[in-house]
Symmetry: C2
Subunit: 330 residues, 2 copies
DNA sequence: CAGACTTTGGAAAACGCTTTCCGGGAGGTT
DNA sequence: AACCTCCCGGAAAGCGTTTTCCAAAGTCTG
């Protein structure tokens, strides 16, 4: 293992000079010595030991990213956005996937704290559980006390900078658009009842229907993935329009209706949420609420990295996009 | 920042004892002291400084993962498989995305080397470029000289443990199956001509057709993504069956045919490769060659982490799955 | 009960960098 | 020519752990 000391000796300079040449410092080094050091480093195949550097500097070049599930295109898109800004800043990204287990989220914050990462990004819906939220906050506070920066994509419950998709408004706007198409009877594939994002979407949707004087929708709970959408759709009947709280669930619903011989949109309209790009080529193409996922990830990391803490919450609004999976009635 | 020394002092023991209690050691510590240390650590909110630990131990608990594009479900699935085994082993994962730039892949290996990660996983097709491959090998060799472990998911060109999908055989088997349906005239949406995986798939497909005494397929090059599939499909005519070298490209092709008013599978059959799970609910459902992506990622990391190096190449064969996007002729 | 092990705790030397001081020489000003 | 600055190179003190020795105290044997 070639160390900086080897390089310094080989170049006939001091450790300090070698360090200044190779690992960016404010101090200048004369041209002749600089060349000598660079040559020696190249010849010996020197590679900085980042652990030592981090220890000496007291700051690392890594950021932590905690997501629920990387194979879910929603998280992949957000992660990608965040990773692009990380790359621009010369930061490496450490990723943890919780597989939707809030305990694991807490554990990852602790681990990332131990790694002394520069910032932690928590991506994904908060859970409606006082105690878990409190434990997570404690862990985050501990991290922040020692200079760690945190941002979140989700709900503003953690007392950290947060990019908040306006789930209620998006769902409400969608509901009004669907009502505008003439729909009067709705079902909502609501996902699990402990995650806040889907709950907000359900509430926004139902609230708008109520404002319009329409009957309350049939609310069906299930898991938050394609299978959940499929299972919930199996129980749908007697409505003209179905709102799945995510595109991924909508895909499951579409499959269920197909298997049941129910045509979309002729027999029932279906709408999703998120506008996952991988799913844009579905047939029928999915009506949905578009969220700028990559940008959300990017903005969150920018907040976390910003010199001044606590810009608070940035709300991102979704844009309703009606495609072929919903049709006008009458 | 609470250090181990603070904990030791607070507990009234030596640094050595505190270290042994808190960060797993072979040495035993008496029950009474052990409790004191644990208590002190909890009270002070001690969090191991991993950088210091890595430096002292000379080995980190991180592995590096280099993929082309996380938003491509192909890579997401492989990464997920690898991350599951990492998690089981208590390892953190550092991810780099190259966005298909081979230079960046080399740069990431160098960076991960500097991080002194335990192992590096290179995921994705190798490029047909002698010089780039050589430079990557050199960088890998430098990393391996100092104890770094490397594995690859792709082609066995790097002199490291590799999980190799048998692209030729899979494509050939697919070709035979399609010929078995009565197809005689084919087009291949071949992707870029510098990536080896798509080239192998094209070669396997064309080779099988030749063996069967069928005319050579029309080969159309394009980019390796959905847009490439769309663009290439625009130029297809006069064939009964189209093979897109990835499912993602097949999706683009499906969209192009739809836009052109060409029905699938009535007017033309379409097959893909990979069997991306997010795409299983497409209509018409996609005939394809299934690759066990998550398992490939997991196996690769297991190889990289195995105590004995150089088990060489593990070939993974794909399974042809005929669904609705291809139909029998006549 | 002496001698030989085995445990268990502590002191201190790494691990490979960064950065603060110091000092010496070059250049500029009176 | 004397004095002040500025600039650049080096010595050395950390950064927070792990781990190697030592030493002291048990624990066995015969």
């Amino acid at each position: 293992m070639v160390t900086l000391e080897d390089v310094a000796r080989h170049a006939g300079v001091s450790l300090a000079t070698a360090s200044r040449v190779l690992n960016g410092s404010t101090r200048q080094v004369g041209a002749s010595l600089r060349v000598k050091v660079e040559l020696a480093a190249a010849q010996l195949g020197y590679r900085t030991n980042v652990a030592a550097q981090t220890l000496a500097r007291g700051a690392s070049n890594v950021i932590g990213l905690v997501v629920h599930d990387l194979t879910d295109p929603y998280f992949a898109a957000i992660a990608d956005g965040a990773m692009r800004v990380a790359e621009n800043q010369g930061l490496m990204v450490m990723i943890g996937t919780t597989h939707r287990d809030p305990q694991r989220e807490i554990a990852y914050v602790s681990t990332l704290n131990a790694q002394r990462v520069r910032a932690v990004l928590l991506v994904g819906s908060r859970v409606a559980d006082e105690q878990l939220t409190r434990r997570l906050r404690e862990e985050l506070d501990r991290y922040r006390e020692t200079g760690g920066r945190v941002a979140c994509v989700g709900q503003d419950l953690l007392g950290v900078d947060t990019v908040v998709p306006d789930n209620r408004l998006g769902a409400a706007t969608l509901a009004r658009a669907l009502a505008g198409l003439g729909h009067r009877s709705f079902a909502v594939l609501a996902g699990p009842d402990r995650l806040i994002a889907p709950m907000d979407r359900v509430a926004g949707f139902a609230g708008a229907l109520e404002e319009l004087g329409l009957p309350a929708p049939l609310v069906l709970h299930s898991s938050f993935d394609r299978e959940g959408g499929y299972a919930a759709a199996t129980q749908v009947s007697g409505v003209t329009c179905v709102f799945a709280v995510t595109d991924v669930m909508a895909v499951g619903a579409l499959a269920a209706f197909r298997d049941r011989g129910i045509r979309v949109p002729e027999d029932v309209s279906v709408a999703g949420f998120d506008d996952i790009s991988t799913l844009r080529d579905l047939v029928p193409s999915l009506s949905t609420v578009r969220l700028p996922l990559a940008e959300m990830g990017a903005r969150a990391l920018e907040m976390a990295l910003a010199p001044d803490e606590g810009t608070g919450a940035q709300v991102v609004t979704g844009e309703v996009i009606l495609r072929e999976s919903t049709r006008a009635l009458g």
